[in-house]
């Protein structure tokens, strides 16, 4: 049954005893965004701010904040973080900066609070660095994107649109002439997304044939994170071959060799 773990049987706040939980490798990824005036973003990218390098400062602030999480959140355990990364992607569509924080450790409790704190403080620091030129900035999109390890298992935020704009842009094709591409298991993790729309036109423009092999080659070229190796493919939920021809509207799923049973 789902319940609030930080409340005891009397409804009082307490710190959860995790001493009996197994030590496992855990990772959490969280996002935040700062929406700003287009000229503020331009100034950040041009490096013209009086306070210096905005993005580098926000990144360090995020990393420092992750390490101070138990000081800020009352019932949060102090953790020995093994890795903290804070990435900041300028997004002209927003317009603003998208922040993604990842925290890792081998321990007995999850690291999503650390990732959320890192992303939040990086956003606050962006505000602090830029408030002299833009007071209307909006901080948003603070959420957990992914959790791995631990008792409750792997979890992925379904509408994960946090991928950097550069990776997503080549596939923003028109809906009526597109392939619906899906990824499972290890491939989903390599791609950091479970679904992708690929415009038929983007394959044709790059001279790739409209077949499973053509789509696979195109994906490997567009997404270097996608490792090569033995893959299985299904078209419209039926097992397919590399030579299988594709047409607009097809659902094409890529996955590693199956390991059920």
């Amino acid at each position: 049954m789902t319940h609030f773990t930080h409340l005891d049987s009397k409804g009082q706040a307490h710190m959860v005893d995790v001493s009996a939980k197994a030590v496992t490798a855990r990772t959490a990824r969280a996002s935040a965004s700062v929406t700003m005036q287009p000229h503020t973003l331009e100034m950040i990218l041009a490096g013209g701010h009086a306070k210096g390098d905005v993005l580098a400062t926000a990144r360090i602030a995020g990393i420092q904040a992750a390490k101070r999480t138990p000081d800020l959140i009352p019932l949060c355990h102090p953790l020995m973080l093994s890795r903290v990364t804070v990435d900041l992607h300028p997004d002209p569509q927003l317009p603003g900066i998208r922040i993604e924080a990842t925290c890792k450790l081998a321990g007995q409790t999850g690291v999503e609070m650390e990732a959320l704190t890192a992303a939040s403080v990086a956003a606050l620091t962006l505000y602090d660095m830029c408030k002299a030129v833009d007071k209307t900035m909006l901080i948003g999109d603070i959420r957990v994107l992914q959790k791995q390890g631990g008792k409750s298992g792997d979890w992925l935020y379904e509408a994960d649109t946090s991928a950097p704009a550069s990776a997503a842009s080549p596939v923003q094709g028109s809906q009526d002439a597109a392939l619906q591409v899906r990824f499972f298991a290890e491939l989903r993790e390599q791609m950091q997304q479970d679904e992708l729309q690929v415009a038929v036109a983007s394959l044709q423009a790059a001279d790739y044939p409209l077949t499973v092999a053509g789509l696979s080659d195109w994906l490997h070229q567009q997404f270097p994170a996608l490792k090569s190796g033995r893959l299985m493919v299904a078209v419209n939920q039926q097992m397919a071959e590399l030579s299988t021809a594709l047409k607009s509207g097809d659902e094409v799923a890529f996955f590693p060799p199956v390991t059920g049973g």
């Binding site: 197994a22 030590v23 496992t24 490798a25 081998a106 791995q148 390890g149 008792k151 409750s152 298992g153 792997d154 899906r182 499972f184 298991a185 290890e186 299985m232 299904a234 939920q237 039926q238 097992m239 799923a253 996955f255 590693p256 060799p257 199956v258 390991t259 059920g260 049973g261």
Partner: protein
Amino acid sequence: MFDIRVQAQRFDCGVELEALSQQRTDVGAVASFIGYVRDFNERPDVVALTLEHYPGMTEQQLRLIAEQAARRWPVLAATIIHRVGRMEPGDPIVLVAVASAHRQAAFDACNFIMDYLKTEAPFWKKEHTRTGDYWVSSRESDTLAAQRWEKTDV
């Protein structure tokens, strides 16, 4: 005739096996296989595993495998239940049970379904160990096990 389920909840083997022969008198044999989570695999100290599937396609593939078995052997009924989500060592993962008039057909069809489930049904296992998580690799021995049915004459 086929009862195919992909679910997160545990199943009750006793209930499922009884259901195969209930209210019929033509069943002479029920053969079954139950797969469990082991605490060792590619690495020792497996603390849990997470099973992922392809909703829609997985159920369809399991049905195709059961239909193939029924074309080779006189199968009267079959149940395939495969769990998904997080499981811990000792937890049951999969149940395959086949009812037939005679034992040989039930044994063979059950074996056949399990071999093809291992190589053609879209399920993926991620193992969680004390030293980290990894996706389980497919085994050559499973591919060979499924291939032997291609050579055997019924």
